[in-house]
Assembly symmetry: C2
Homo-oligomer: 345 residues x 2
């Protein structure tokens, strides 16, 4: 029950602690420890079930092989958990563990948790956000390595950030529609098309819309309109789509800014007797599981949560400070083409 120490192993092997240390650190060769002694030490360690006390080692070496992962509410949000997954994998490859905590959006708590992690001598801190958003970088963050994950600093600051490439995602959505032959009756569900008609804090909304507009106008096509929603839930999508369906020009394609909104759009189309993919095409964002549960299956542009998580750790741990700090890394959003986009009637 009580753990065996290195001193104990050394005693059992009849050598000094130094020798035991070298052997068990794999530096026996380097230190030209005799094979005999090496074997004795190994055996003693094995027989006694020796395990190094990592806390002690940390104190000595000043490195804990631990990364702090502080999120607003990531573990909580369905697929944002994949952020953690990616981070976990990348961390393990580098022999690190993750110390995690949630702030639930409380800035004081956030500050406290960051300090608490620094006190524990973590090698770096990831500040992660559930939805891509602008965030004010907590002051204490700058006193050590750190990365913003799924968040952008609202003021210029020297912390790197890792976010999905929302603008390119928007471009892809538009391209998909153009490729299918859509040239008019294209509406956005989730934001208005006039300036300012955007949910506050919504990086996704702003950048996706910009990308969409860019590609469409590049092809001489313009957006027929849009609907700003209170929230991006199915009910909101349903109501907005119903309204849009009464507008002129007649909607031929809906770009829904997330899959939940798309669920509502599907329901509205069904109510109107319209068939998705034939009468009206739908492109969506996020690629939650529900996208492939819908009939017809929904074409959606995925948030690369796993890759985002990985990237954050890579930037933190491998980040040979060659790239200027403050760099924003944009991770591609893969498009999952399914059945909801068709040639316009």
């Amino acid at each position: 029950m009580t753990r065996v120490t290195l001193a104990e192993v050394a005693r059992q092997a009849g050598v000094s602690q130094t020798t035991a240390s070298f052997v068990l650190a794999g530096r026996g060769e380097e230190m030209r420890i005799s094979a005999q002694v090496e074997a004795r030490v190994r055996q003693a360690a094995h027989e006694s079930g020796y395990r190094p006390n990592v806390v002690s080692r940390n104190l000595r070496t000043g490195t804990t092989h631990t990364i702090g992962f502080v999120s607003d509410t990531v573990a909580t949000t369905p697929f944002a958990g994949h952020l953690i997954w990616g981070a976990l994998d990348a961390a393990r490859e580098r022999e690190h563990l993750l110390l995690i905590a949630e702030t639930e959006g409380d800035p004081d708590l956030e500050k406290e948790l960051i300090e608490s992690m620094r006190d524990r001598q973590v090698g770096g801190i990831v500040i992660a956000s559930m939805y891509t958003r602008w965030t004010t970088v907590p002051k204490g963050l700058l006193e050590g390595k750190s990365v913003l994950l799924n968040a952008l600093p609202s003021k210029p600051c020297p912390v790197a950030a890792v976010v999905p490439d929302e603008a390119e995602g928007g471009r892809d959505a538009a391209r998909t529609l153009l490729r299918a032959g859509h040239t008019d009756g294209i509406y956005v569900v989730g934001v208005g098309t006039k300036p300012g008609q955007v949910p506050k804090g919504g990086v996704a909304a702003v950048e996706r819309l910009a990308g969409i507009k860019e590609v469409l106008s590049g092809a001489g096509v313009s957006l027929a309109g849009g609907a700003l929603l209170k929230d991006w839930q199915p009910r909101d999508g349903y109501e907005a789509s119903l309204r849009l369906l009464g507008r002129k020009p007649e909607p031929k394609a809906l770009i829904c800014l997330n899959d939940r909104v798309s669920v509502g759009a599907y329901q509205a189309l069904e109510d109107k007797g319209l068939k998705v993919g034939r009468d009206v095409s739908v492109v969506s964002f996020d690629d939650e599981p529900v996208a492939s549960w819908l009939r017809p299956q929904l074409t959606s542009i995925a948030i690369p949560h796993y890759e985002l998580g990985r990237k954050a750790i890579e930037v933190l741990l491998d980040g040979g400070h060659s790239p200027p700090e403050g760099t924003v890394y944009r991770v591609p959003m893969p498009i999952r083409e399914r059945e909801s986009v068709g040639t316009p009637p």
Copy 2:
């Protein structure tokens, strides 16, 4: 950048390290340190931005205020992330942080991670599973405090376990149907009704079915049949429901063993021109968000992920070893009654 140590604070305050330690540990009163000295120390600490080195403290005290959270793939699974959320909250209330890792089902990796966490002197380990299942308790686990979360030991063993009360959930599902007046044409979608027709490793399937049968037979009602599925995805639910809809007695109520299966069942009913809640009632399990997106909204028995996570930490940390080790704690599954259950036609 370089951290201030206690020694430094003491020097600045012109006192010994001992005195500084007592003051900052809040034991100044107890040790009858003079108010003057106390103030000097406090000020020095504040001015220099002193923060204790927790690693060092850990080494000295042997306690890290950290819990290891090892899961097969929890962070990964949509709502199982709520397990972490609950654990996080409960841990923070007790001033602990969580060190997390995933095994992805690899027993060797699991063993390694558990050892790695013990090496880091964690105060206890939670072994969590994505879906409730039976699990073989890794050997090394017994060498310190630990709890099984959302998992049951396959052989009797002294580790406590925290799981949803699946049997009672099953009873609730049955009661809901009885209360609405259902007495026949009740089918289960997800398992067969004969012995052995259960997905392997499926605690949920076994216990839910047992609860359902218990209440029904108590009311003199019996299950009309069931369908064992390969997987519990919408497609499986769809196909099974379609088959069931051709059976006699005519299905009047479907108990779907999760919401994804229910999604498929809804689609099958729609294809057959049957209306949910009027022609056929549906009760479901899990209460994922999709349950309230469906039309009509789905009555579902929720998995109390958050509470499960909390409970695990409570058992671990508060667990005054009064309850016999090996206790199984069953957390109630709340039923969310919505619109999918109606009086049989």
